[in-house]
């Protein structure tokens, strides 16, 4: 590596500066500045009246705010758990299968990633149309194979809607987990796998003793990415159940709550820019704490396995 001498300092600065400044000003500072706005209130677009922590007090003590906030929190956890189960657990087993050698293996790898390239909005709309109780293809399909007793008002029932939405998101990003895990499995030296097979290890033993430990770091990354994505998810709710998280706020996630509170008119659930910033700040705290917990958990697990 070249020692940065004086004559290079200028270039060092010149090279790093543009990326540094754009990244800082338009990605990191906005989050801090938004926190600042959470200390203000006012009718206009830019809140001007300083109120200290009043917005936070109101968010947690006034029922009209706190009920919506905790509701979104609960929904988001439900949503995250379902998506994690599908993407992480099912995705892992699918990756084990995809990484076997079989005819069409290459094709499957390519195909599995395809849904991830679509826009979340489009995926949401497609599922909404397919699940329409009147002309949707899905109900017609169930009727055709004689399972009409299973038909539900999928997106209309507060008990099922959040699951349906979570499954739509999982459908889209399932391939991403599969891709990550297969590349992890591909990285395991063939000799180790071979040795295990000669020793007569069953597929389950192989998964538990060889594959799982070596992809565990990837499980960590995937979980954290899903966590961040899910706790700021908005597009899928916008497309499938609207910014109010219908029916009856049963699919209201933090993403839609933030959009509604910060940007909608008060008659449609807006709480003003200051309160919107307060919600964003709380979301940031939750995401940060969550990521911290996951990092701690996965590094612990890693140590255990490396012992």
């Amino acid at each position: 590596m070249l020692e940065a001498r004086k004559k290079h300092a200028r270039f060092l600065f010149l090279f790093i500066f543009p990326a540094f400044i754009i990244y800082t000003v338009f990605m990191l500072l906005p989050i801090l500045n938004s926190m600042k706005y959470s200390l203000y209130t006012g009718d206009g677009l830019i809140p001007t009246e300083f109120v200290g922590l009043d917005n936070y007090v109101r968010l947690f003590t006034e029922e009209r705010y706190s009920v919506k906030f905790w509701n979104a929190f609960r929904n988001n956890i439900k949503f995250f758990v379902i998506v994690t189960l599908i993407q992480n657990v099912m995705g892992f087993f699918m990756a084990v299968m995809v990484s076997r050698s079989f005819k069409g293996n290459k094709f499957m790898r390519k195909l599995s990633f395809l849904p991830t390239t679509l826009s979340v909005l489009v995926v949401g709309y497609i599922f909404k149309l397919i699940l329409n109780p009147y002309y949707g293809v899905f109900d017609k399909f169930l009727e055709m194979i004689g399972l009409e007793s299973l038909i539900l008002p999928w997106l209309g029932d507060p008990r099922t809607a959040i699951y349906v939405v979570a499954i739509a998101v999982s459908w889209q990003f399932f391939g991403e987990s599969v891709l990550f895990y297969t590349s992890g499995i591909d990285g395991i030296p063939e000799s180790i796998m071979e040795a295990a097979r000669i020793d007569g290890a069953s597929i389950w033993q192989e998964i538990y003793h060889i594959i799982l430990p070596s992809v565990l770091p990837i499980v960590g990354i995937v979980t954290i990415l899903i966590f961040i994505g899910d706790f700021t998810q908005f597009d899928i709710i916008f497309a499938m159940t609207g910014t109010r998280g219908d029916p009856g706020y049963s699919t209201d996630l933090f993403g839609s709550l933030f959009y509604r509170t910060a940007f909608a008119s008060s008659e449609r659930g807006g709480w003003g820019t200051g309160m919107g910033a307060t919600v964003a700040t709380m979301m940031f705290l939750i995401v940060t704490v969550g990521v911290g917990i996951f990092l701690y958990f996965f590094s612990k697990k890693r140590e255990e396995l490396e012992k």
Binding site: L45, L152, G156, T243, Y249, S265, E267, G270
Partner: protein
């Protein structure tokens, strides 16, 4: 690799050209603005009406060749958020559709709307109830009352004929009609509950008004003389519950658009809807088979409480680049010529502009025919009770949705609304 790079480069160039052309166009338009053509942007939540509105605006441009109107509606559920942001940011449209009472008033309070009292003299002739819906407490008017809508029940004439049914006048007759249709295996209503605003705006405010006491009760509620938990509102809520057995299977999953499609394609006998839907049913075909009746009465001889809702006013952006042209257009919008054009193009939209008009659409005539013998009212909690969050509008819609989902009884639904309105009684 080289090929890819080349391709990317070509695309960059192409994009650059497209961009440059775009900005030049805008600049050119801005520079030549005062000399010849001016383009005014007109925004609304009526995305269904683009073609019809364009025809109306063409008539204006014929009269004033130097002013062109660009109608740019935004989906209704997104409209208020988008409008609020764009006006606050100073990039709002020149001419703006405003909802009545607090929704519109909040936009006015951002200081982005022109006060029209001294600008459009014709406003003096408008009905005062309509003017009040878009005025400050000091009676500064910020929008031209433009569209009134009514709520009632659409039905398929052929289905009614098949069962020898006649249009019901009272609730009991209405229920009997529903029962006959259900026994005959028909889908009685095209109603669903996925989009809950329908449940409040059309069903509760439209069909419930005869039971909760209409305009008088609405006034009393606003004056805090009665509460939403009072007997009248509970009774209206119970009547809403009466309708549930006649909804289609899995109504919880049916959204607004699907309802329109079910009824518009002739797959349900009735649809509780608003007058603005005539155009949609016309587009879906077979309008001659569609009939309409007003909300059924509680008992024979009662006076109809008719929800003739003040739906849309038209305001003018204070910060428009073309104040003179915008005002010219606004004056035209306040003229009988526009009102007649609107009622021709958009049957089911009723104008407030004083004058005598002919209604060309039979359904619109039918809707209008009930007005003379009724007491007009507007949606139950639209005025004042929806000024803050959670708004009355949201609460009633949620309560009914929960009631249909079996989570609340009619009494509990009313209590849900009353609890949510705690901010109004503070």
């Amino acid at each position: 690799m080289k090929k890819l790079l080349l391709a990317v480069l070509t695309m960059v160039m192409a994009a650059n050209f497209a961009f440059a052309a775009g900005t030049q166009e805008i600049n050119a338009a801005a520079e030549s603005g005062d000399s010849d053509k001016v383009k005014l942007v007109f925004t609304s939540w009526r995305t269904e009406d683009i073609e019809r509105m364009n025809r109306i605006n063409d008539a204006f441009t014929k009269e004033y060749p130097n002013i062109e109107i660009d109608f740019q509606p935004v989906k209704d559920t997104e409209y208020d958020a988008q409008l609020k942001q764009s006006l606050a940011a100073g990039v709002g449209a020149d001419i703006i559709f405003l909802r009545s009472y607090d929704s519109g008033y909040q936009i006015y309070k951002t200081g982005s709307l022109e006060v029209l009292n001294d600008k459009i003299m014709d406003l003096k002739g408008f009905p005062s109830a309509a003017i009040a819906a878009w005025s400050t407490p000091e009676m500064e008017t910020y929008a031209i009352p433009s569209v009134g809508v009514v709520h009632g029940v659409y039905y398929r004439k052929s289905v009614f004929e098949k069962y020898g049914l006649s249009v019901p006048a009272t609730w009991d007759e209405f229920m009997a009609v529903c029962e006959t249709l259900k026994d005959g295996g028909e889908t009685v209503f095209a109603q669903g509950t996925k989009d809950n605003w329908m449940l409040y705006e059309v069903m509760f405010a439209g069909l419930g008004a005869n039971f909760y006491g209409g305009e008088e009760a609405r006034q009393n509620l606003m004056n805090k003389d009665i509460r939403f938990t009072d007997a009248g509102f509970v009774e209206a809520m119970e009547r809403m519950k009466d309708l549930q057995p006649y909804f289609p299977d899995r109504f919880e999953g049916i959204d607004y658009v699907t309802m329109q499609q079910i009824f518009g394609t002739g797959n349900a006998a009735m649809f509780m809807g608003g007058s603005w839907e005539i155009g949609i049913f016309e587009d879906l075909g077979g309008l001659e088979d569609v009939g309409y009746f007003a909300p059924p009465l509680k008992a024979k001889g009662d006076t109809l409480q008719y929800c003739f809702h003040v739906d849309a006013g038209i305001g003018m952006n204070k910060n428009t680049k073309y104040p003179d042209e915008a005002l010219t257009y606004m004056k035209w919008l306040a003229s009988p010529a526009y009102a007649q054009l609107m009622m021709d193009e958009l049957p089911g939209f009723f104008g407030y502009t004083p004058g005598s008009y002919t209604l060309s659409n039979d359904l619109a005539k039918q809707m209008q025919s009930y007005v003379a013998s009724s007491v007009p009212t507007v949606r139950t909690v639209w005025e004042k009770l929806s000024a803050e969050s959670p708004s009355g509008n949201e609460l009633v819609a949620e309560a009914i949705q929960k009631m249909y989902a079996g989570e609340l009884t009619p009494e509990e639904a009313c209590k849900y609304v009353d609890d949510g309105l705690a901010w109004y009684y503070r």
